[in-house]
């Protein structure tokens, strides 16, 4: 079993855990949620449980306690900043190690049978975002944190562990503070979201994948085939990831936690910055809160703010993977955000969202994003025929 929302055994266990939750007394809802997360992850990927759970309990939780104590001391700000920096550096170093070497093994058990269970670590990239948010919020605010189970539940929340959405720790705590049994309307809505997610993935994304694979197989595509391929790739990425997010949010609702939305009509964006406010919203929000605003944000002024946003997109490309394709994807989006900044392009206000000018802006934004989707192809050589095809109108 893997902690995948496509693994029938994992889905079944999630559904059973959500059903059993109805019989749990209110004061036991947090321990129950944490226990479910630990058991599910222990069954699906013991290595992930050991690593993420271990870091949560042995690093994040003690560091948060230290940050709380240090903040109250006179001139404790410098020490708090040092502790935050050390914690973030620790998480980043581990992330780079995992990213650079996916088969990062435990040396003392590399040849044993059980090592097969420890091959993959799921969701470390998303864990990294959560862990840094957890430390940063404890650096910024005095959060009463007395229960390590809450931290464990936060990092191992089963439906979001492999691909987000990246919920902020403060939002997660608010949900837990109103710990409640799921009423029928919420349960019905959760089931609806889950169904919608699987429909997106199994029917729509699957069809688009088939279409893009078929078009990729054409040796010398013409302009229409190349355009169809670009659109198929772009929409495939949307339906695949939005489908996942619907399922994660649906299961979250069944577990009594309202997970943050990840998509908000991105296809209607009129600029690149607006697109990134509506596509993979939680990662955009994370970079805004943890990098963009602390580094000056909009106070830097138009061009410098656009440069910073462009640099963040480059970092976002690195986050996707240490490959030429993903770095190029980050540079492409960064350059387009910078271009919008230089040209002073801003999202159109709601009152102006009609007519040819509006739809022209929407088309221009989507064209650039769709061309960026080509970087999700496996190699540079697979992009060349598509770009050639886009110029072959006769």
């Amino acid at each position: 079993m893997t902690p995948s929302l496509l693994d029938p055994r994992f889905i079944l266990l999630l559904a059973v855990a959500a059903l059993l939750r109805r019989f749990v007394p209110d004061r036991w809802l947090l321990p129950y949620g944490a226990a479910v997360s630990v058991v599910l992850m222990g069954l699906a990927s013991p290595r992930t449980l050991l690593l993420l759970g271990g870091i949560a309990l042995l690093v994040l939780y003690p560091l948060a306690q230290l940050l709380r104590r240090v903040r109250t001391r006179p001139a404790g700000d410098k020490t708090a900043r040092f502790l935050l920096g050390a914690g973030v550096a620790f998480i980043l170093v581990l992330w780079v190690a995992f990213k650079a070497n996916r088969s990062f093994g435990l040396p003392f058990m590399s040849q044993s049978a059980i090592a097969q269970q420890f091959v993959a670590v799921f969701g470390f990239s998303y864990f990294m975002f959560k862990a840094i948010n957890f430390l940063y919020i404890h650096y910024l605010a005095d959060i009463p944190e007395s229960n390590p189970l809450r931290v464990l539940y936060y990092v191992l929340f089963p439906s979001t562990i492999t691909s987000g959405p990246i919920q902020k720790y403060s939002d997660f705590c608010k949900e837990l503070a109103q710990a409640r049994h799921v009423d029928s309307a919420t349960a019905a809505h959760g089931v609806y979201r889950i169904t919608k997610g699987y429909f997106f993935k199994i029917c729509v994304a699957f069809g688009l994948k088939w279409a893009s694979d078929s078009l990729l197989a054409v040796a010398q595509p013409n302009a229409y085939q190349a355009m169809a391929l670009v659109v198929a790739l772009y929409t495939f990425l949307y339906f695949d990831f939005a489908g996942y997010s619907h399922i994660a949010i649906g299961f979250g609702l069944l577990m009594g936690v309202k997970v943050t939305e990840n998509f908000r009509q991105p296809f209607l964006a009129t600029s690149m910055t607006e697109f990134w406010r509506n596509w993979h919203i939680t990662v955009g929000d994370w970079f805004r809160d943890h990098v963009f605003i602390p580094q000056g944000g909009m106070r830097l002024g138009g061009l410098r703010a656009a440069l910073l946003a462009g640099a963040i997109m480059f970092a976002c490309g690195l986050w996707h993977g240490f490959t030429v394709m993903f770095v190029s994807w980050g540079l492409w989006h960064g350059a387009n955000i910078l271009l919008d900044g230089v040209l002073g392009v801003r999202p159109m206000p709601p009152a102006h969202r009609h007519g040819p000018r509006y739809w022209g802006r929407v088309l221009w934004t989507n064209t650039r994003v769709a061309l960026g989707a080509l970087f999700f192809l496996p190699t540079v050589s697979s992009i060349k025929p598509v770009l050639g095809g886009l110029l072959r109108w006769w």
């Binding site: 995948s4 993959a120 998303y126 691909s163 309307a185 169904t195 029917c203 695949d240």
Partner: protein
Amino acid sequence: MVVERLCTVRGERGLLWRAFIWALMVAAISWTLVYQAGKSDPDLPEFVYVNF
């Protein structure tokens, strides 16, 4: 109980519409899964963003 609550929020037509769409989606998923299961090499790739 469920019908009452959903009707209060969205109105009767909203509920029926959602139930209809839900049934359509379930039918499409079932059909695709049955079609996939009947193939010699069933293929359902993992979510792209898993394990990034």
